[in-house]
């Protein structure tokens, strides 16, 4: 591996010889990368050195690159990375210098920059294949958060070389596992890149030598790579640490009584069929049915590869607009259901230690004497973790003992998630529990009337057939969200700012329509807060309003959670959020149109 790097960097350094400063840097970088390599082989090296080197390298390459960009790469690269800003090139400089390349200096970046036309797979033009693969490689790198991955890898290598690492075997295990997994990812991409370049070399060589057999062989190999690269792109979407885990999906109905409980049940059904389509195992852990129809709340366990990775895109509030079958007045209703997704971490991960004495265990049962008096198959168990107030309920197992075990598993995952959120505030988006999800955090709208459409508010991905979506055809939404969220992250150097950006973007898109539609004639909006009593009071007010007129205004919106934006990041002011989105206005217009 080291020799490979050396060779490659030499070939690129020859290319970069025109700029002597760049050359020095190249040598440094190759040293640095060799260093990483040897770290990967767990050679004992003085700790701290690599990070120092890395720092030095980063600084020098950053400043150098700005120069080399203008003097050597020219405008081509500026075009290619038009959205990079404020020092965003620093790492790229290192990469460019050590980038594997073909004999004549063509790199993956170079291929993409050449903007060769990408033709259909059936066209036997090597440039087209190469361009397609190179593009995929860039997408994959972006999705793996390549820069962050390298930084993290370096930090882990440093950590691994600490002599006292194994004093804490749990910690050490985690570090070495993560290092191994990141290393595997990195090597895979590097190997793929290398393979592409080698095939290009072969084709060029074959052409020089007029060896048609070799040429067609290499071309064939490129076609295969092109196909694989599509799969790899998809895989790269799910590179998070918890993505391969199974998970719990929880759905909770917003206020609005039967209509929103029915909606919650529809959402839950949607996930059940989605999971079944993917071949995941689904078990209902907890279900609190509504009085007339639907569910107040339910939890399912989804077991299968990457269940959490996919399902995490569904976290947030889902909104339904339809003529309610439960409204004798046949009016249009808007209801909400909140979705939370909790990863079930394997034994390998650090798990929160639960102290028995911190638990209050309750058994749900109908009134009256139990024991010999009653024959019941009802053995629901509720566990309250007193210090955090986190609760878990299970009623679907056939014995109390198993319900308790099941509820404990849910509780464990919830507490793990809580701890995870605490440790990594930046992951807050995907790790919110139901109670934390602000009802303003709408992610998707399902309109069954007056027109039919499902639209994701984060990605603007939309589908005109709500039935197929409600039958579990969610992959389009999930993949578009995953790629959008990863693809935009990479362009922003500072992770913190990346997060706040994405949050701002999301929050901008909260349609204020439901705020507006509360004052629209004959539209009942059931915006919500989670606390039972508040739901109760909302329900009451809605009933009263129903009686008095068609115009239903439920309380003072300012009092409600949905309009209070969450402070997820420090120093992020809520006032900064744009107030009314265009989506909201559209919706009002639609409503009015419908009313006319």
């Amino acid at each position: 591996m080291s020799s490979f790097w050396l060779k490659r960097s030499r070939s690129s350094s020859s290319l970069l010889l025109q700029n002597p400063r760049t050359k020095t840097r190249t040598v440094e970088s190759s040293q640095f990368l060799n260093f990483i390599d040897s770290n990967q082989n767990h050679t004992v090296l003085p700790s701290g050195l690599s990070s120092f080197l890395f720092k030095a390298l980063k600084n020098s390459s950053g400043s150098d690159f700005n120069r080399s960009k203008t003097c050597f790469f020219g405008s081509q690269y500026q075009q290619f990375f038009p959205r990079n800003s404020k020092g965003g090139f620093s790492f790229f400089g290192t990469q460019a210098a050590t980038e594997p390349s073909t004999a004549d200096g063509l790199t993956v970046e170079g291929i993409v920059a050449n903007r060769w036309t990408i033709l259909d797979e059936s066209d036997s033009d090597w440039k087209s294949h190469a361009a397609a693969i190179a593009q995929s490689i860039q997408v994959i790198k972006r999705r793996l958060q390549w820069k962050k991955l390298m930084v993290r890898l370096n930090l882990l290598s440093v950590e691994l070389n600490k002599p006292d690492l194994w004093d804490d075997p749990v910690h050490a295990g985690r570090i070495s596992r993560e290092h191994g997994s990141l290393m595997g990812k990195m090597k895979e991409v590097k190997a793929f890149e290398q393979e592409l370049l080698e095939h290009i070399d072969m084709i060029k060589l074959a052409r020089e030598e007029n060896d048609t057999e070799l040429e067609s062989e290499s071309l064939e190999a490129l076609v295969t790579m092109r196909r694989i690269s599509n799969e790899k792109e998809l895989e790269a979407l799910l590179s998070g640490e918890q993505d391969p885990c199974p998970c719990y999906i929880e759905v909770q109905a917003g206020a609005g009584g039967t209509e929103s409980m029915d909606w919650a049940a529809m959402v839950m059904e949607m996930y059940k069929s989605w999971a079944q389509r993917r071949g995941y195992g689904v078990t209902v852990v907890d279900e609190m049915p509504g009085e007339m129809a639907g569910i107040k709340r339910a939890t399912i366990k989804v077991v299968g590869e990457y269940a959490f990775g996919y399902a995490k895109s569904e976290v947030g509030v889902h909104r339904l607009v339809r003529i309610s079958p439960f409204d004798s007045g046949k009016r249009r209703h808007t209801s909400f259901a909140a979705v939370a997704v909790i990863p079930i971490m394997g034994d390998g991960s650090t798990r929160v230690q639960i102290n028995e004495s911190d638990l209050r265990i309750e058994r749900y049962r109908a009134g009256g004497p139990g024991g010999q008096h009653a024959n019941t198959t009802e053995s629901a168990v509720r566990i309250v973790h007193i210090p955090t107030g986190v609760t878990a309920t299970c009623q679907n197992e056939r014995s109390q003992h198993q319900n308790k075990a099941s509820a404990m598993a849910v509780l464990q995952s919830r507490l793990d998630q809580l701890e995870m959120t605490r440790q990594a505030q930046m992951n807050a988006q995907h790790t919110q529990s139901l109670t934390e999800i602000s009802w303003g955090n709408q992610i998707r709208t399902y309109v069954l009337h007056p027109y039919r459409m499902v639209k994701d508010l984060r990605t603007n991905y939309e589908v005109s057939d709500p039935d197929s979506v409600l039958e579990g055809d969610l992959d389009g939404f999930i993949l578009s969200y995953l790629s959008a969220s990863l693809d935009k992250d990479e362009n922003i150097e500072d992770h913190q700012s990346a997060q706040s950006q994405s949050l701002i973007r999301e929050e901008e898109e909260i349609p204020e329509s439901f705020m507006a539609s509360t004052i629209t004639n004959s539209t009942i909006t059931t915006a919500t807060v989670l606390r039972e009593e508040e739901i109760q009071s909302l329900n009451n007010s809605s009933i009263q309003a129903d009686v008095s007129s068609n115009e239903v205004v439920e309380g003072n919106p300012r009092k409600w959670q949905p309009f209070r934006r969450r402070h997820i990041l420090d120093g992020y002011s809520t006032e900064a959020v744009a107030d009314v989105s265009s989506g909201g206005e559209d919706d009002i217009r639609d409503t009015n149109k419908f009313l006319e």
């Binding site: 059940k272 079944q276 689904v282 049915p289 265990i361 309750e362 058994r363 049962r365 109908a366 009134g367 009256g368 004497p369 139990g370 024991g371 010999q372 008096h373 009653a374 024959n375 019941t376 198959t377 009802e378 053995s379 679907n396 197992e397 056939r398 014995s399 109390q400 003992h401 198993q402 075990a405």
Partner: protein
């Protein structure tokens, strides 16, 4: 309300207990007393039967739809009349019935699909399924008798009409035993007795906790219960730990020298006052054996008898726990034991099941 009464000796002197080696105490010597007579062959629970039947998915769906309609017609009427099951519980039971009847559970989600002519293998004839669900709703036959099993703790126990169905509350008795033996190796290696074992639930629960180090004798007056208990013991491979004997309370132990020898006595004896029997939930009243429920005028006939006998049979430091009708009976028993058997017990504890706030009464008596 149901409370368990747990009580331990607190003598400071523990005579060394030797696990009896004599033939009469050897629990492996099952040949001496047949566990069950051949005439009482226990029924095989539904989920253990071979899949000898088949039906199309659409026929199964038809049955399922019918059963669902029947169940939803119940609403809360059973619940309102005698605390019986409501529709939502019946729906859950229906799902479990399907789970137990169907060989391939992965087909269950397909039940929603119309006109599915896929054949599925069943453990029971589809006509039988109709009749079973009718019995559940119309005759109020307990669900556990319908499927022939009860999920209890981490066990699946065979039960059938005539044998008392173990209750979730009784799971707590096992937890108490687990707590007691966890730091008392002597108790773990001793001889335990489950009186009125029914399906063998308590005996099997304890047997698994003792980890083959101790022994359990499970006793029931009802020959059918004894044979079902033996079946369950066998299913969990505990024949070498648990011996099932048929007879009344301590009577089948006559052949063993047990005075001050027992490590533990556990029982869920009948404790419902006779007058309360007619008002019980239909499932219990009309289907479960009265023998296992009726505790005489105040419901304490058997509890009193057991307390009296246990006092002389438990070895010092031994442990006993009985399930009772609730706080009132518990308090009464505590008083009874303190006054009539003064000095012989200590650490009397009332453990409430966790449906209600836990209330513990600890009594320290002086020897």
């Amino acid at each position: 309300m149901k409370l368990s009464l747990i009580r331990t000796y607190s003598c400071n002197i523990f005579p060394i207990f030797h696990k009896p080696k004599t033939q009469s105490l050897s629990l492996c010597a099952r040949s001496r007393r047949p566990i069950c007579s051949s005439s009482l062959k226990p029924k095989i629970p539904l989920f253990l039967r071979p899949s000898n039947y088949s039906a199309t998915l659409s026929d199964l769906k038809k049955w399922h739809d019918w059963a669902k309609t029947l169940s939803s017609s119940i609403g809360s009427s059973f619940f309102d009349s005698d605390n019986g099951p409501d529709s939502s519980l019946l729906f859950r039971e229906l799902n479990w019935l399907i789970e137990d009847s169907l060989e391939d559970h992965s087909l269950i989600p397909q039940l929603g699909i119309q006109d599915n002519s896929t054949n599925v293998r069943l453990r029971v004839d589809i006509d039988e399924l109709y009749s079973l669900w009718k019995q559940r709703i119309e005759e109020r036959k307990p669900f556990q008798y319908i499927v022939g099993c009860e999920h209890w703790r981490d066990l699946v126990l065979s039960v059938e009409e005539g044998v008392f169905i173990p209750r979730p509350e009784t799971e707590l008795l096992i937890d108490s035993v687990s707590d007691v033996v966890s730091n008392n190796e002597e108790l773990r290696q001793g001889l335990w007795v489950d009186l009125g074992t029914g399906s063998g639930a308590i005996a099997i629960g304890i047997g698994r906790i003792l980890e083959s180090r101790g022994r359990v004798i499970a006793i029931d007056l009802n020959p059918l219960a004894a044979s079902v208990a033996a079946f369950n013991v066998q299913r969990y491979g505990l024949q070498d730990v648990i011996e099932v004997r048929q007879g009344s309370w301590f009577e089948p132990l006559k052949d063993i020298e047990i005075e001050e020898k027992l490590s533990g006595v556990i029982s869920n004896p009948p404790y419902i006052p006779s007058d309360d029997i007619p008002g019980l939930q239909a499932e219990v009243r009309t289907h479960e054996p009265r023998l296992a429920l009726d505790g005489g005028l105040d419901g304490m006939d058997d509890l009193r008898y057991l307390c009296n006998r246990t006092a002389s049979l438990l070895k010092p430091g031994g442990f006993f726990a009985f399930e009772t009708n609730g706080e009132k009976q518990c308090k009464f028993l505590v008083d009874y034991l303190e006054n009539d058997n003064a000095g012989s017990f200590c650490n009397l504890k009332i453990v409430s099941d966790f449906a209600y706030p836990v209330e513990v009464v600890t009594e320290q008596t002086i020897n």
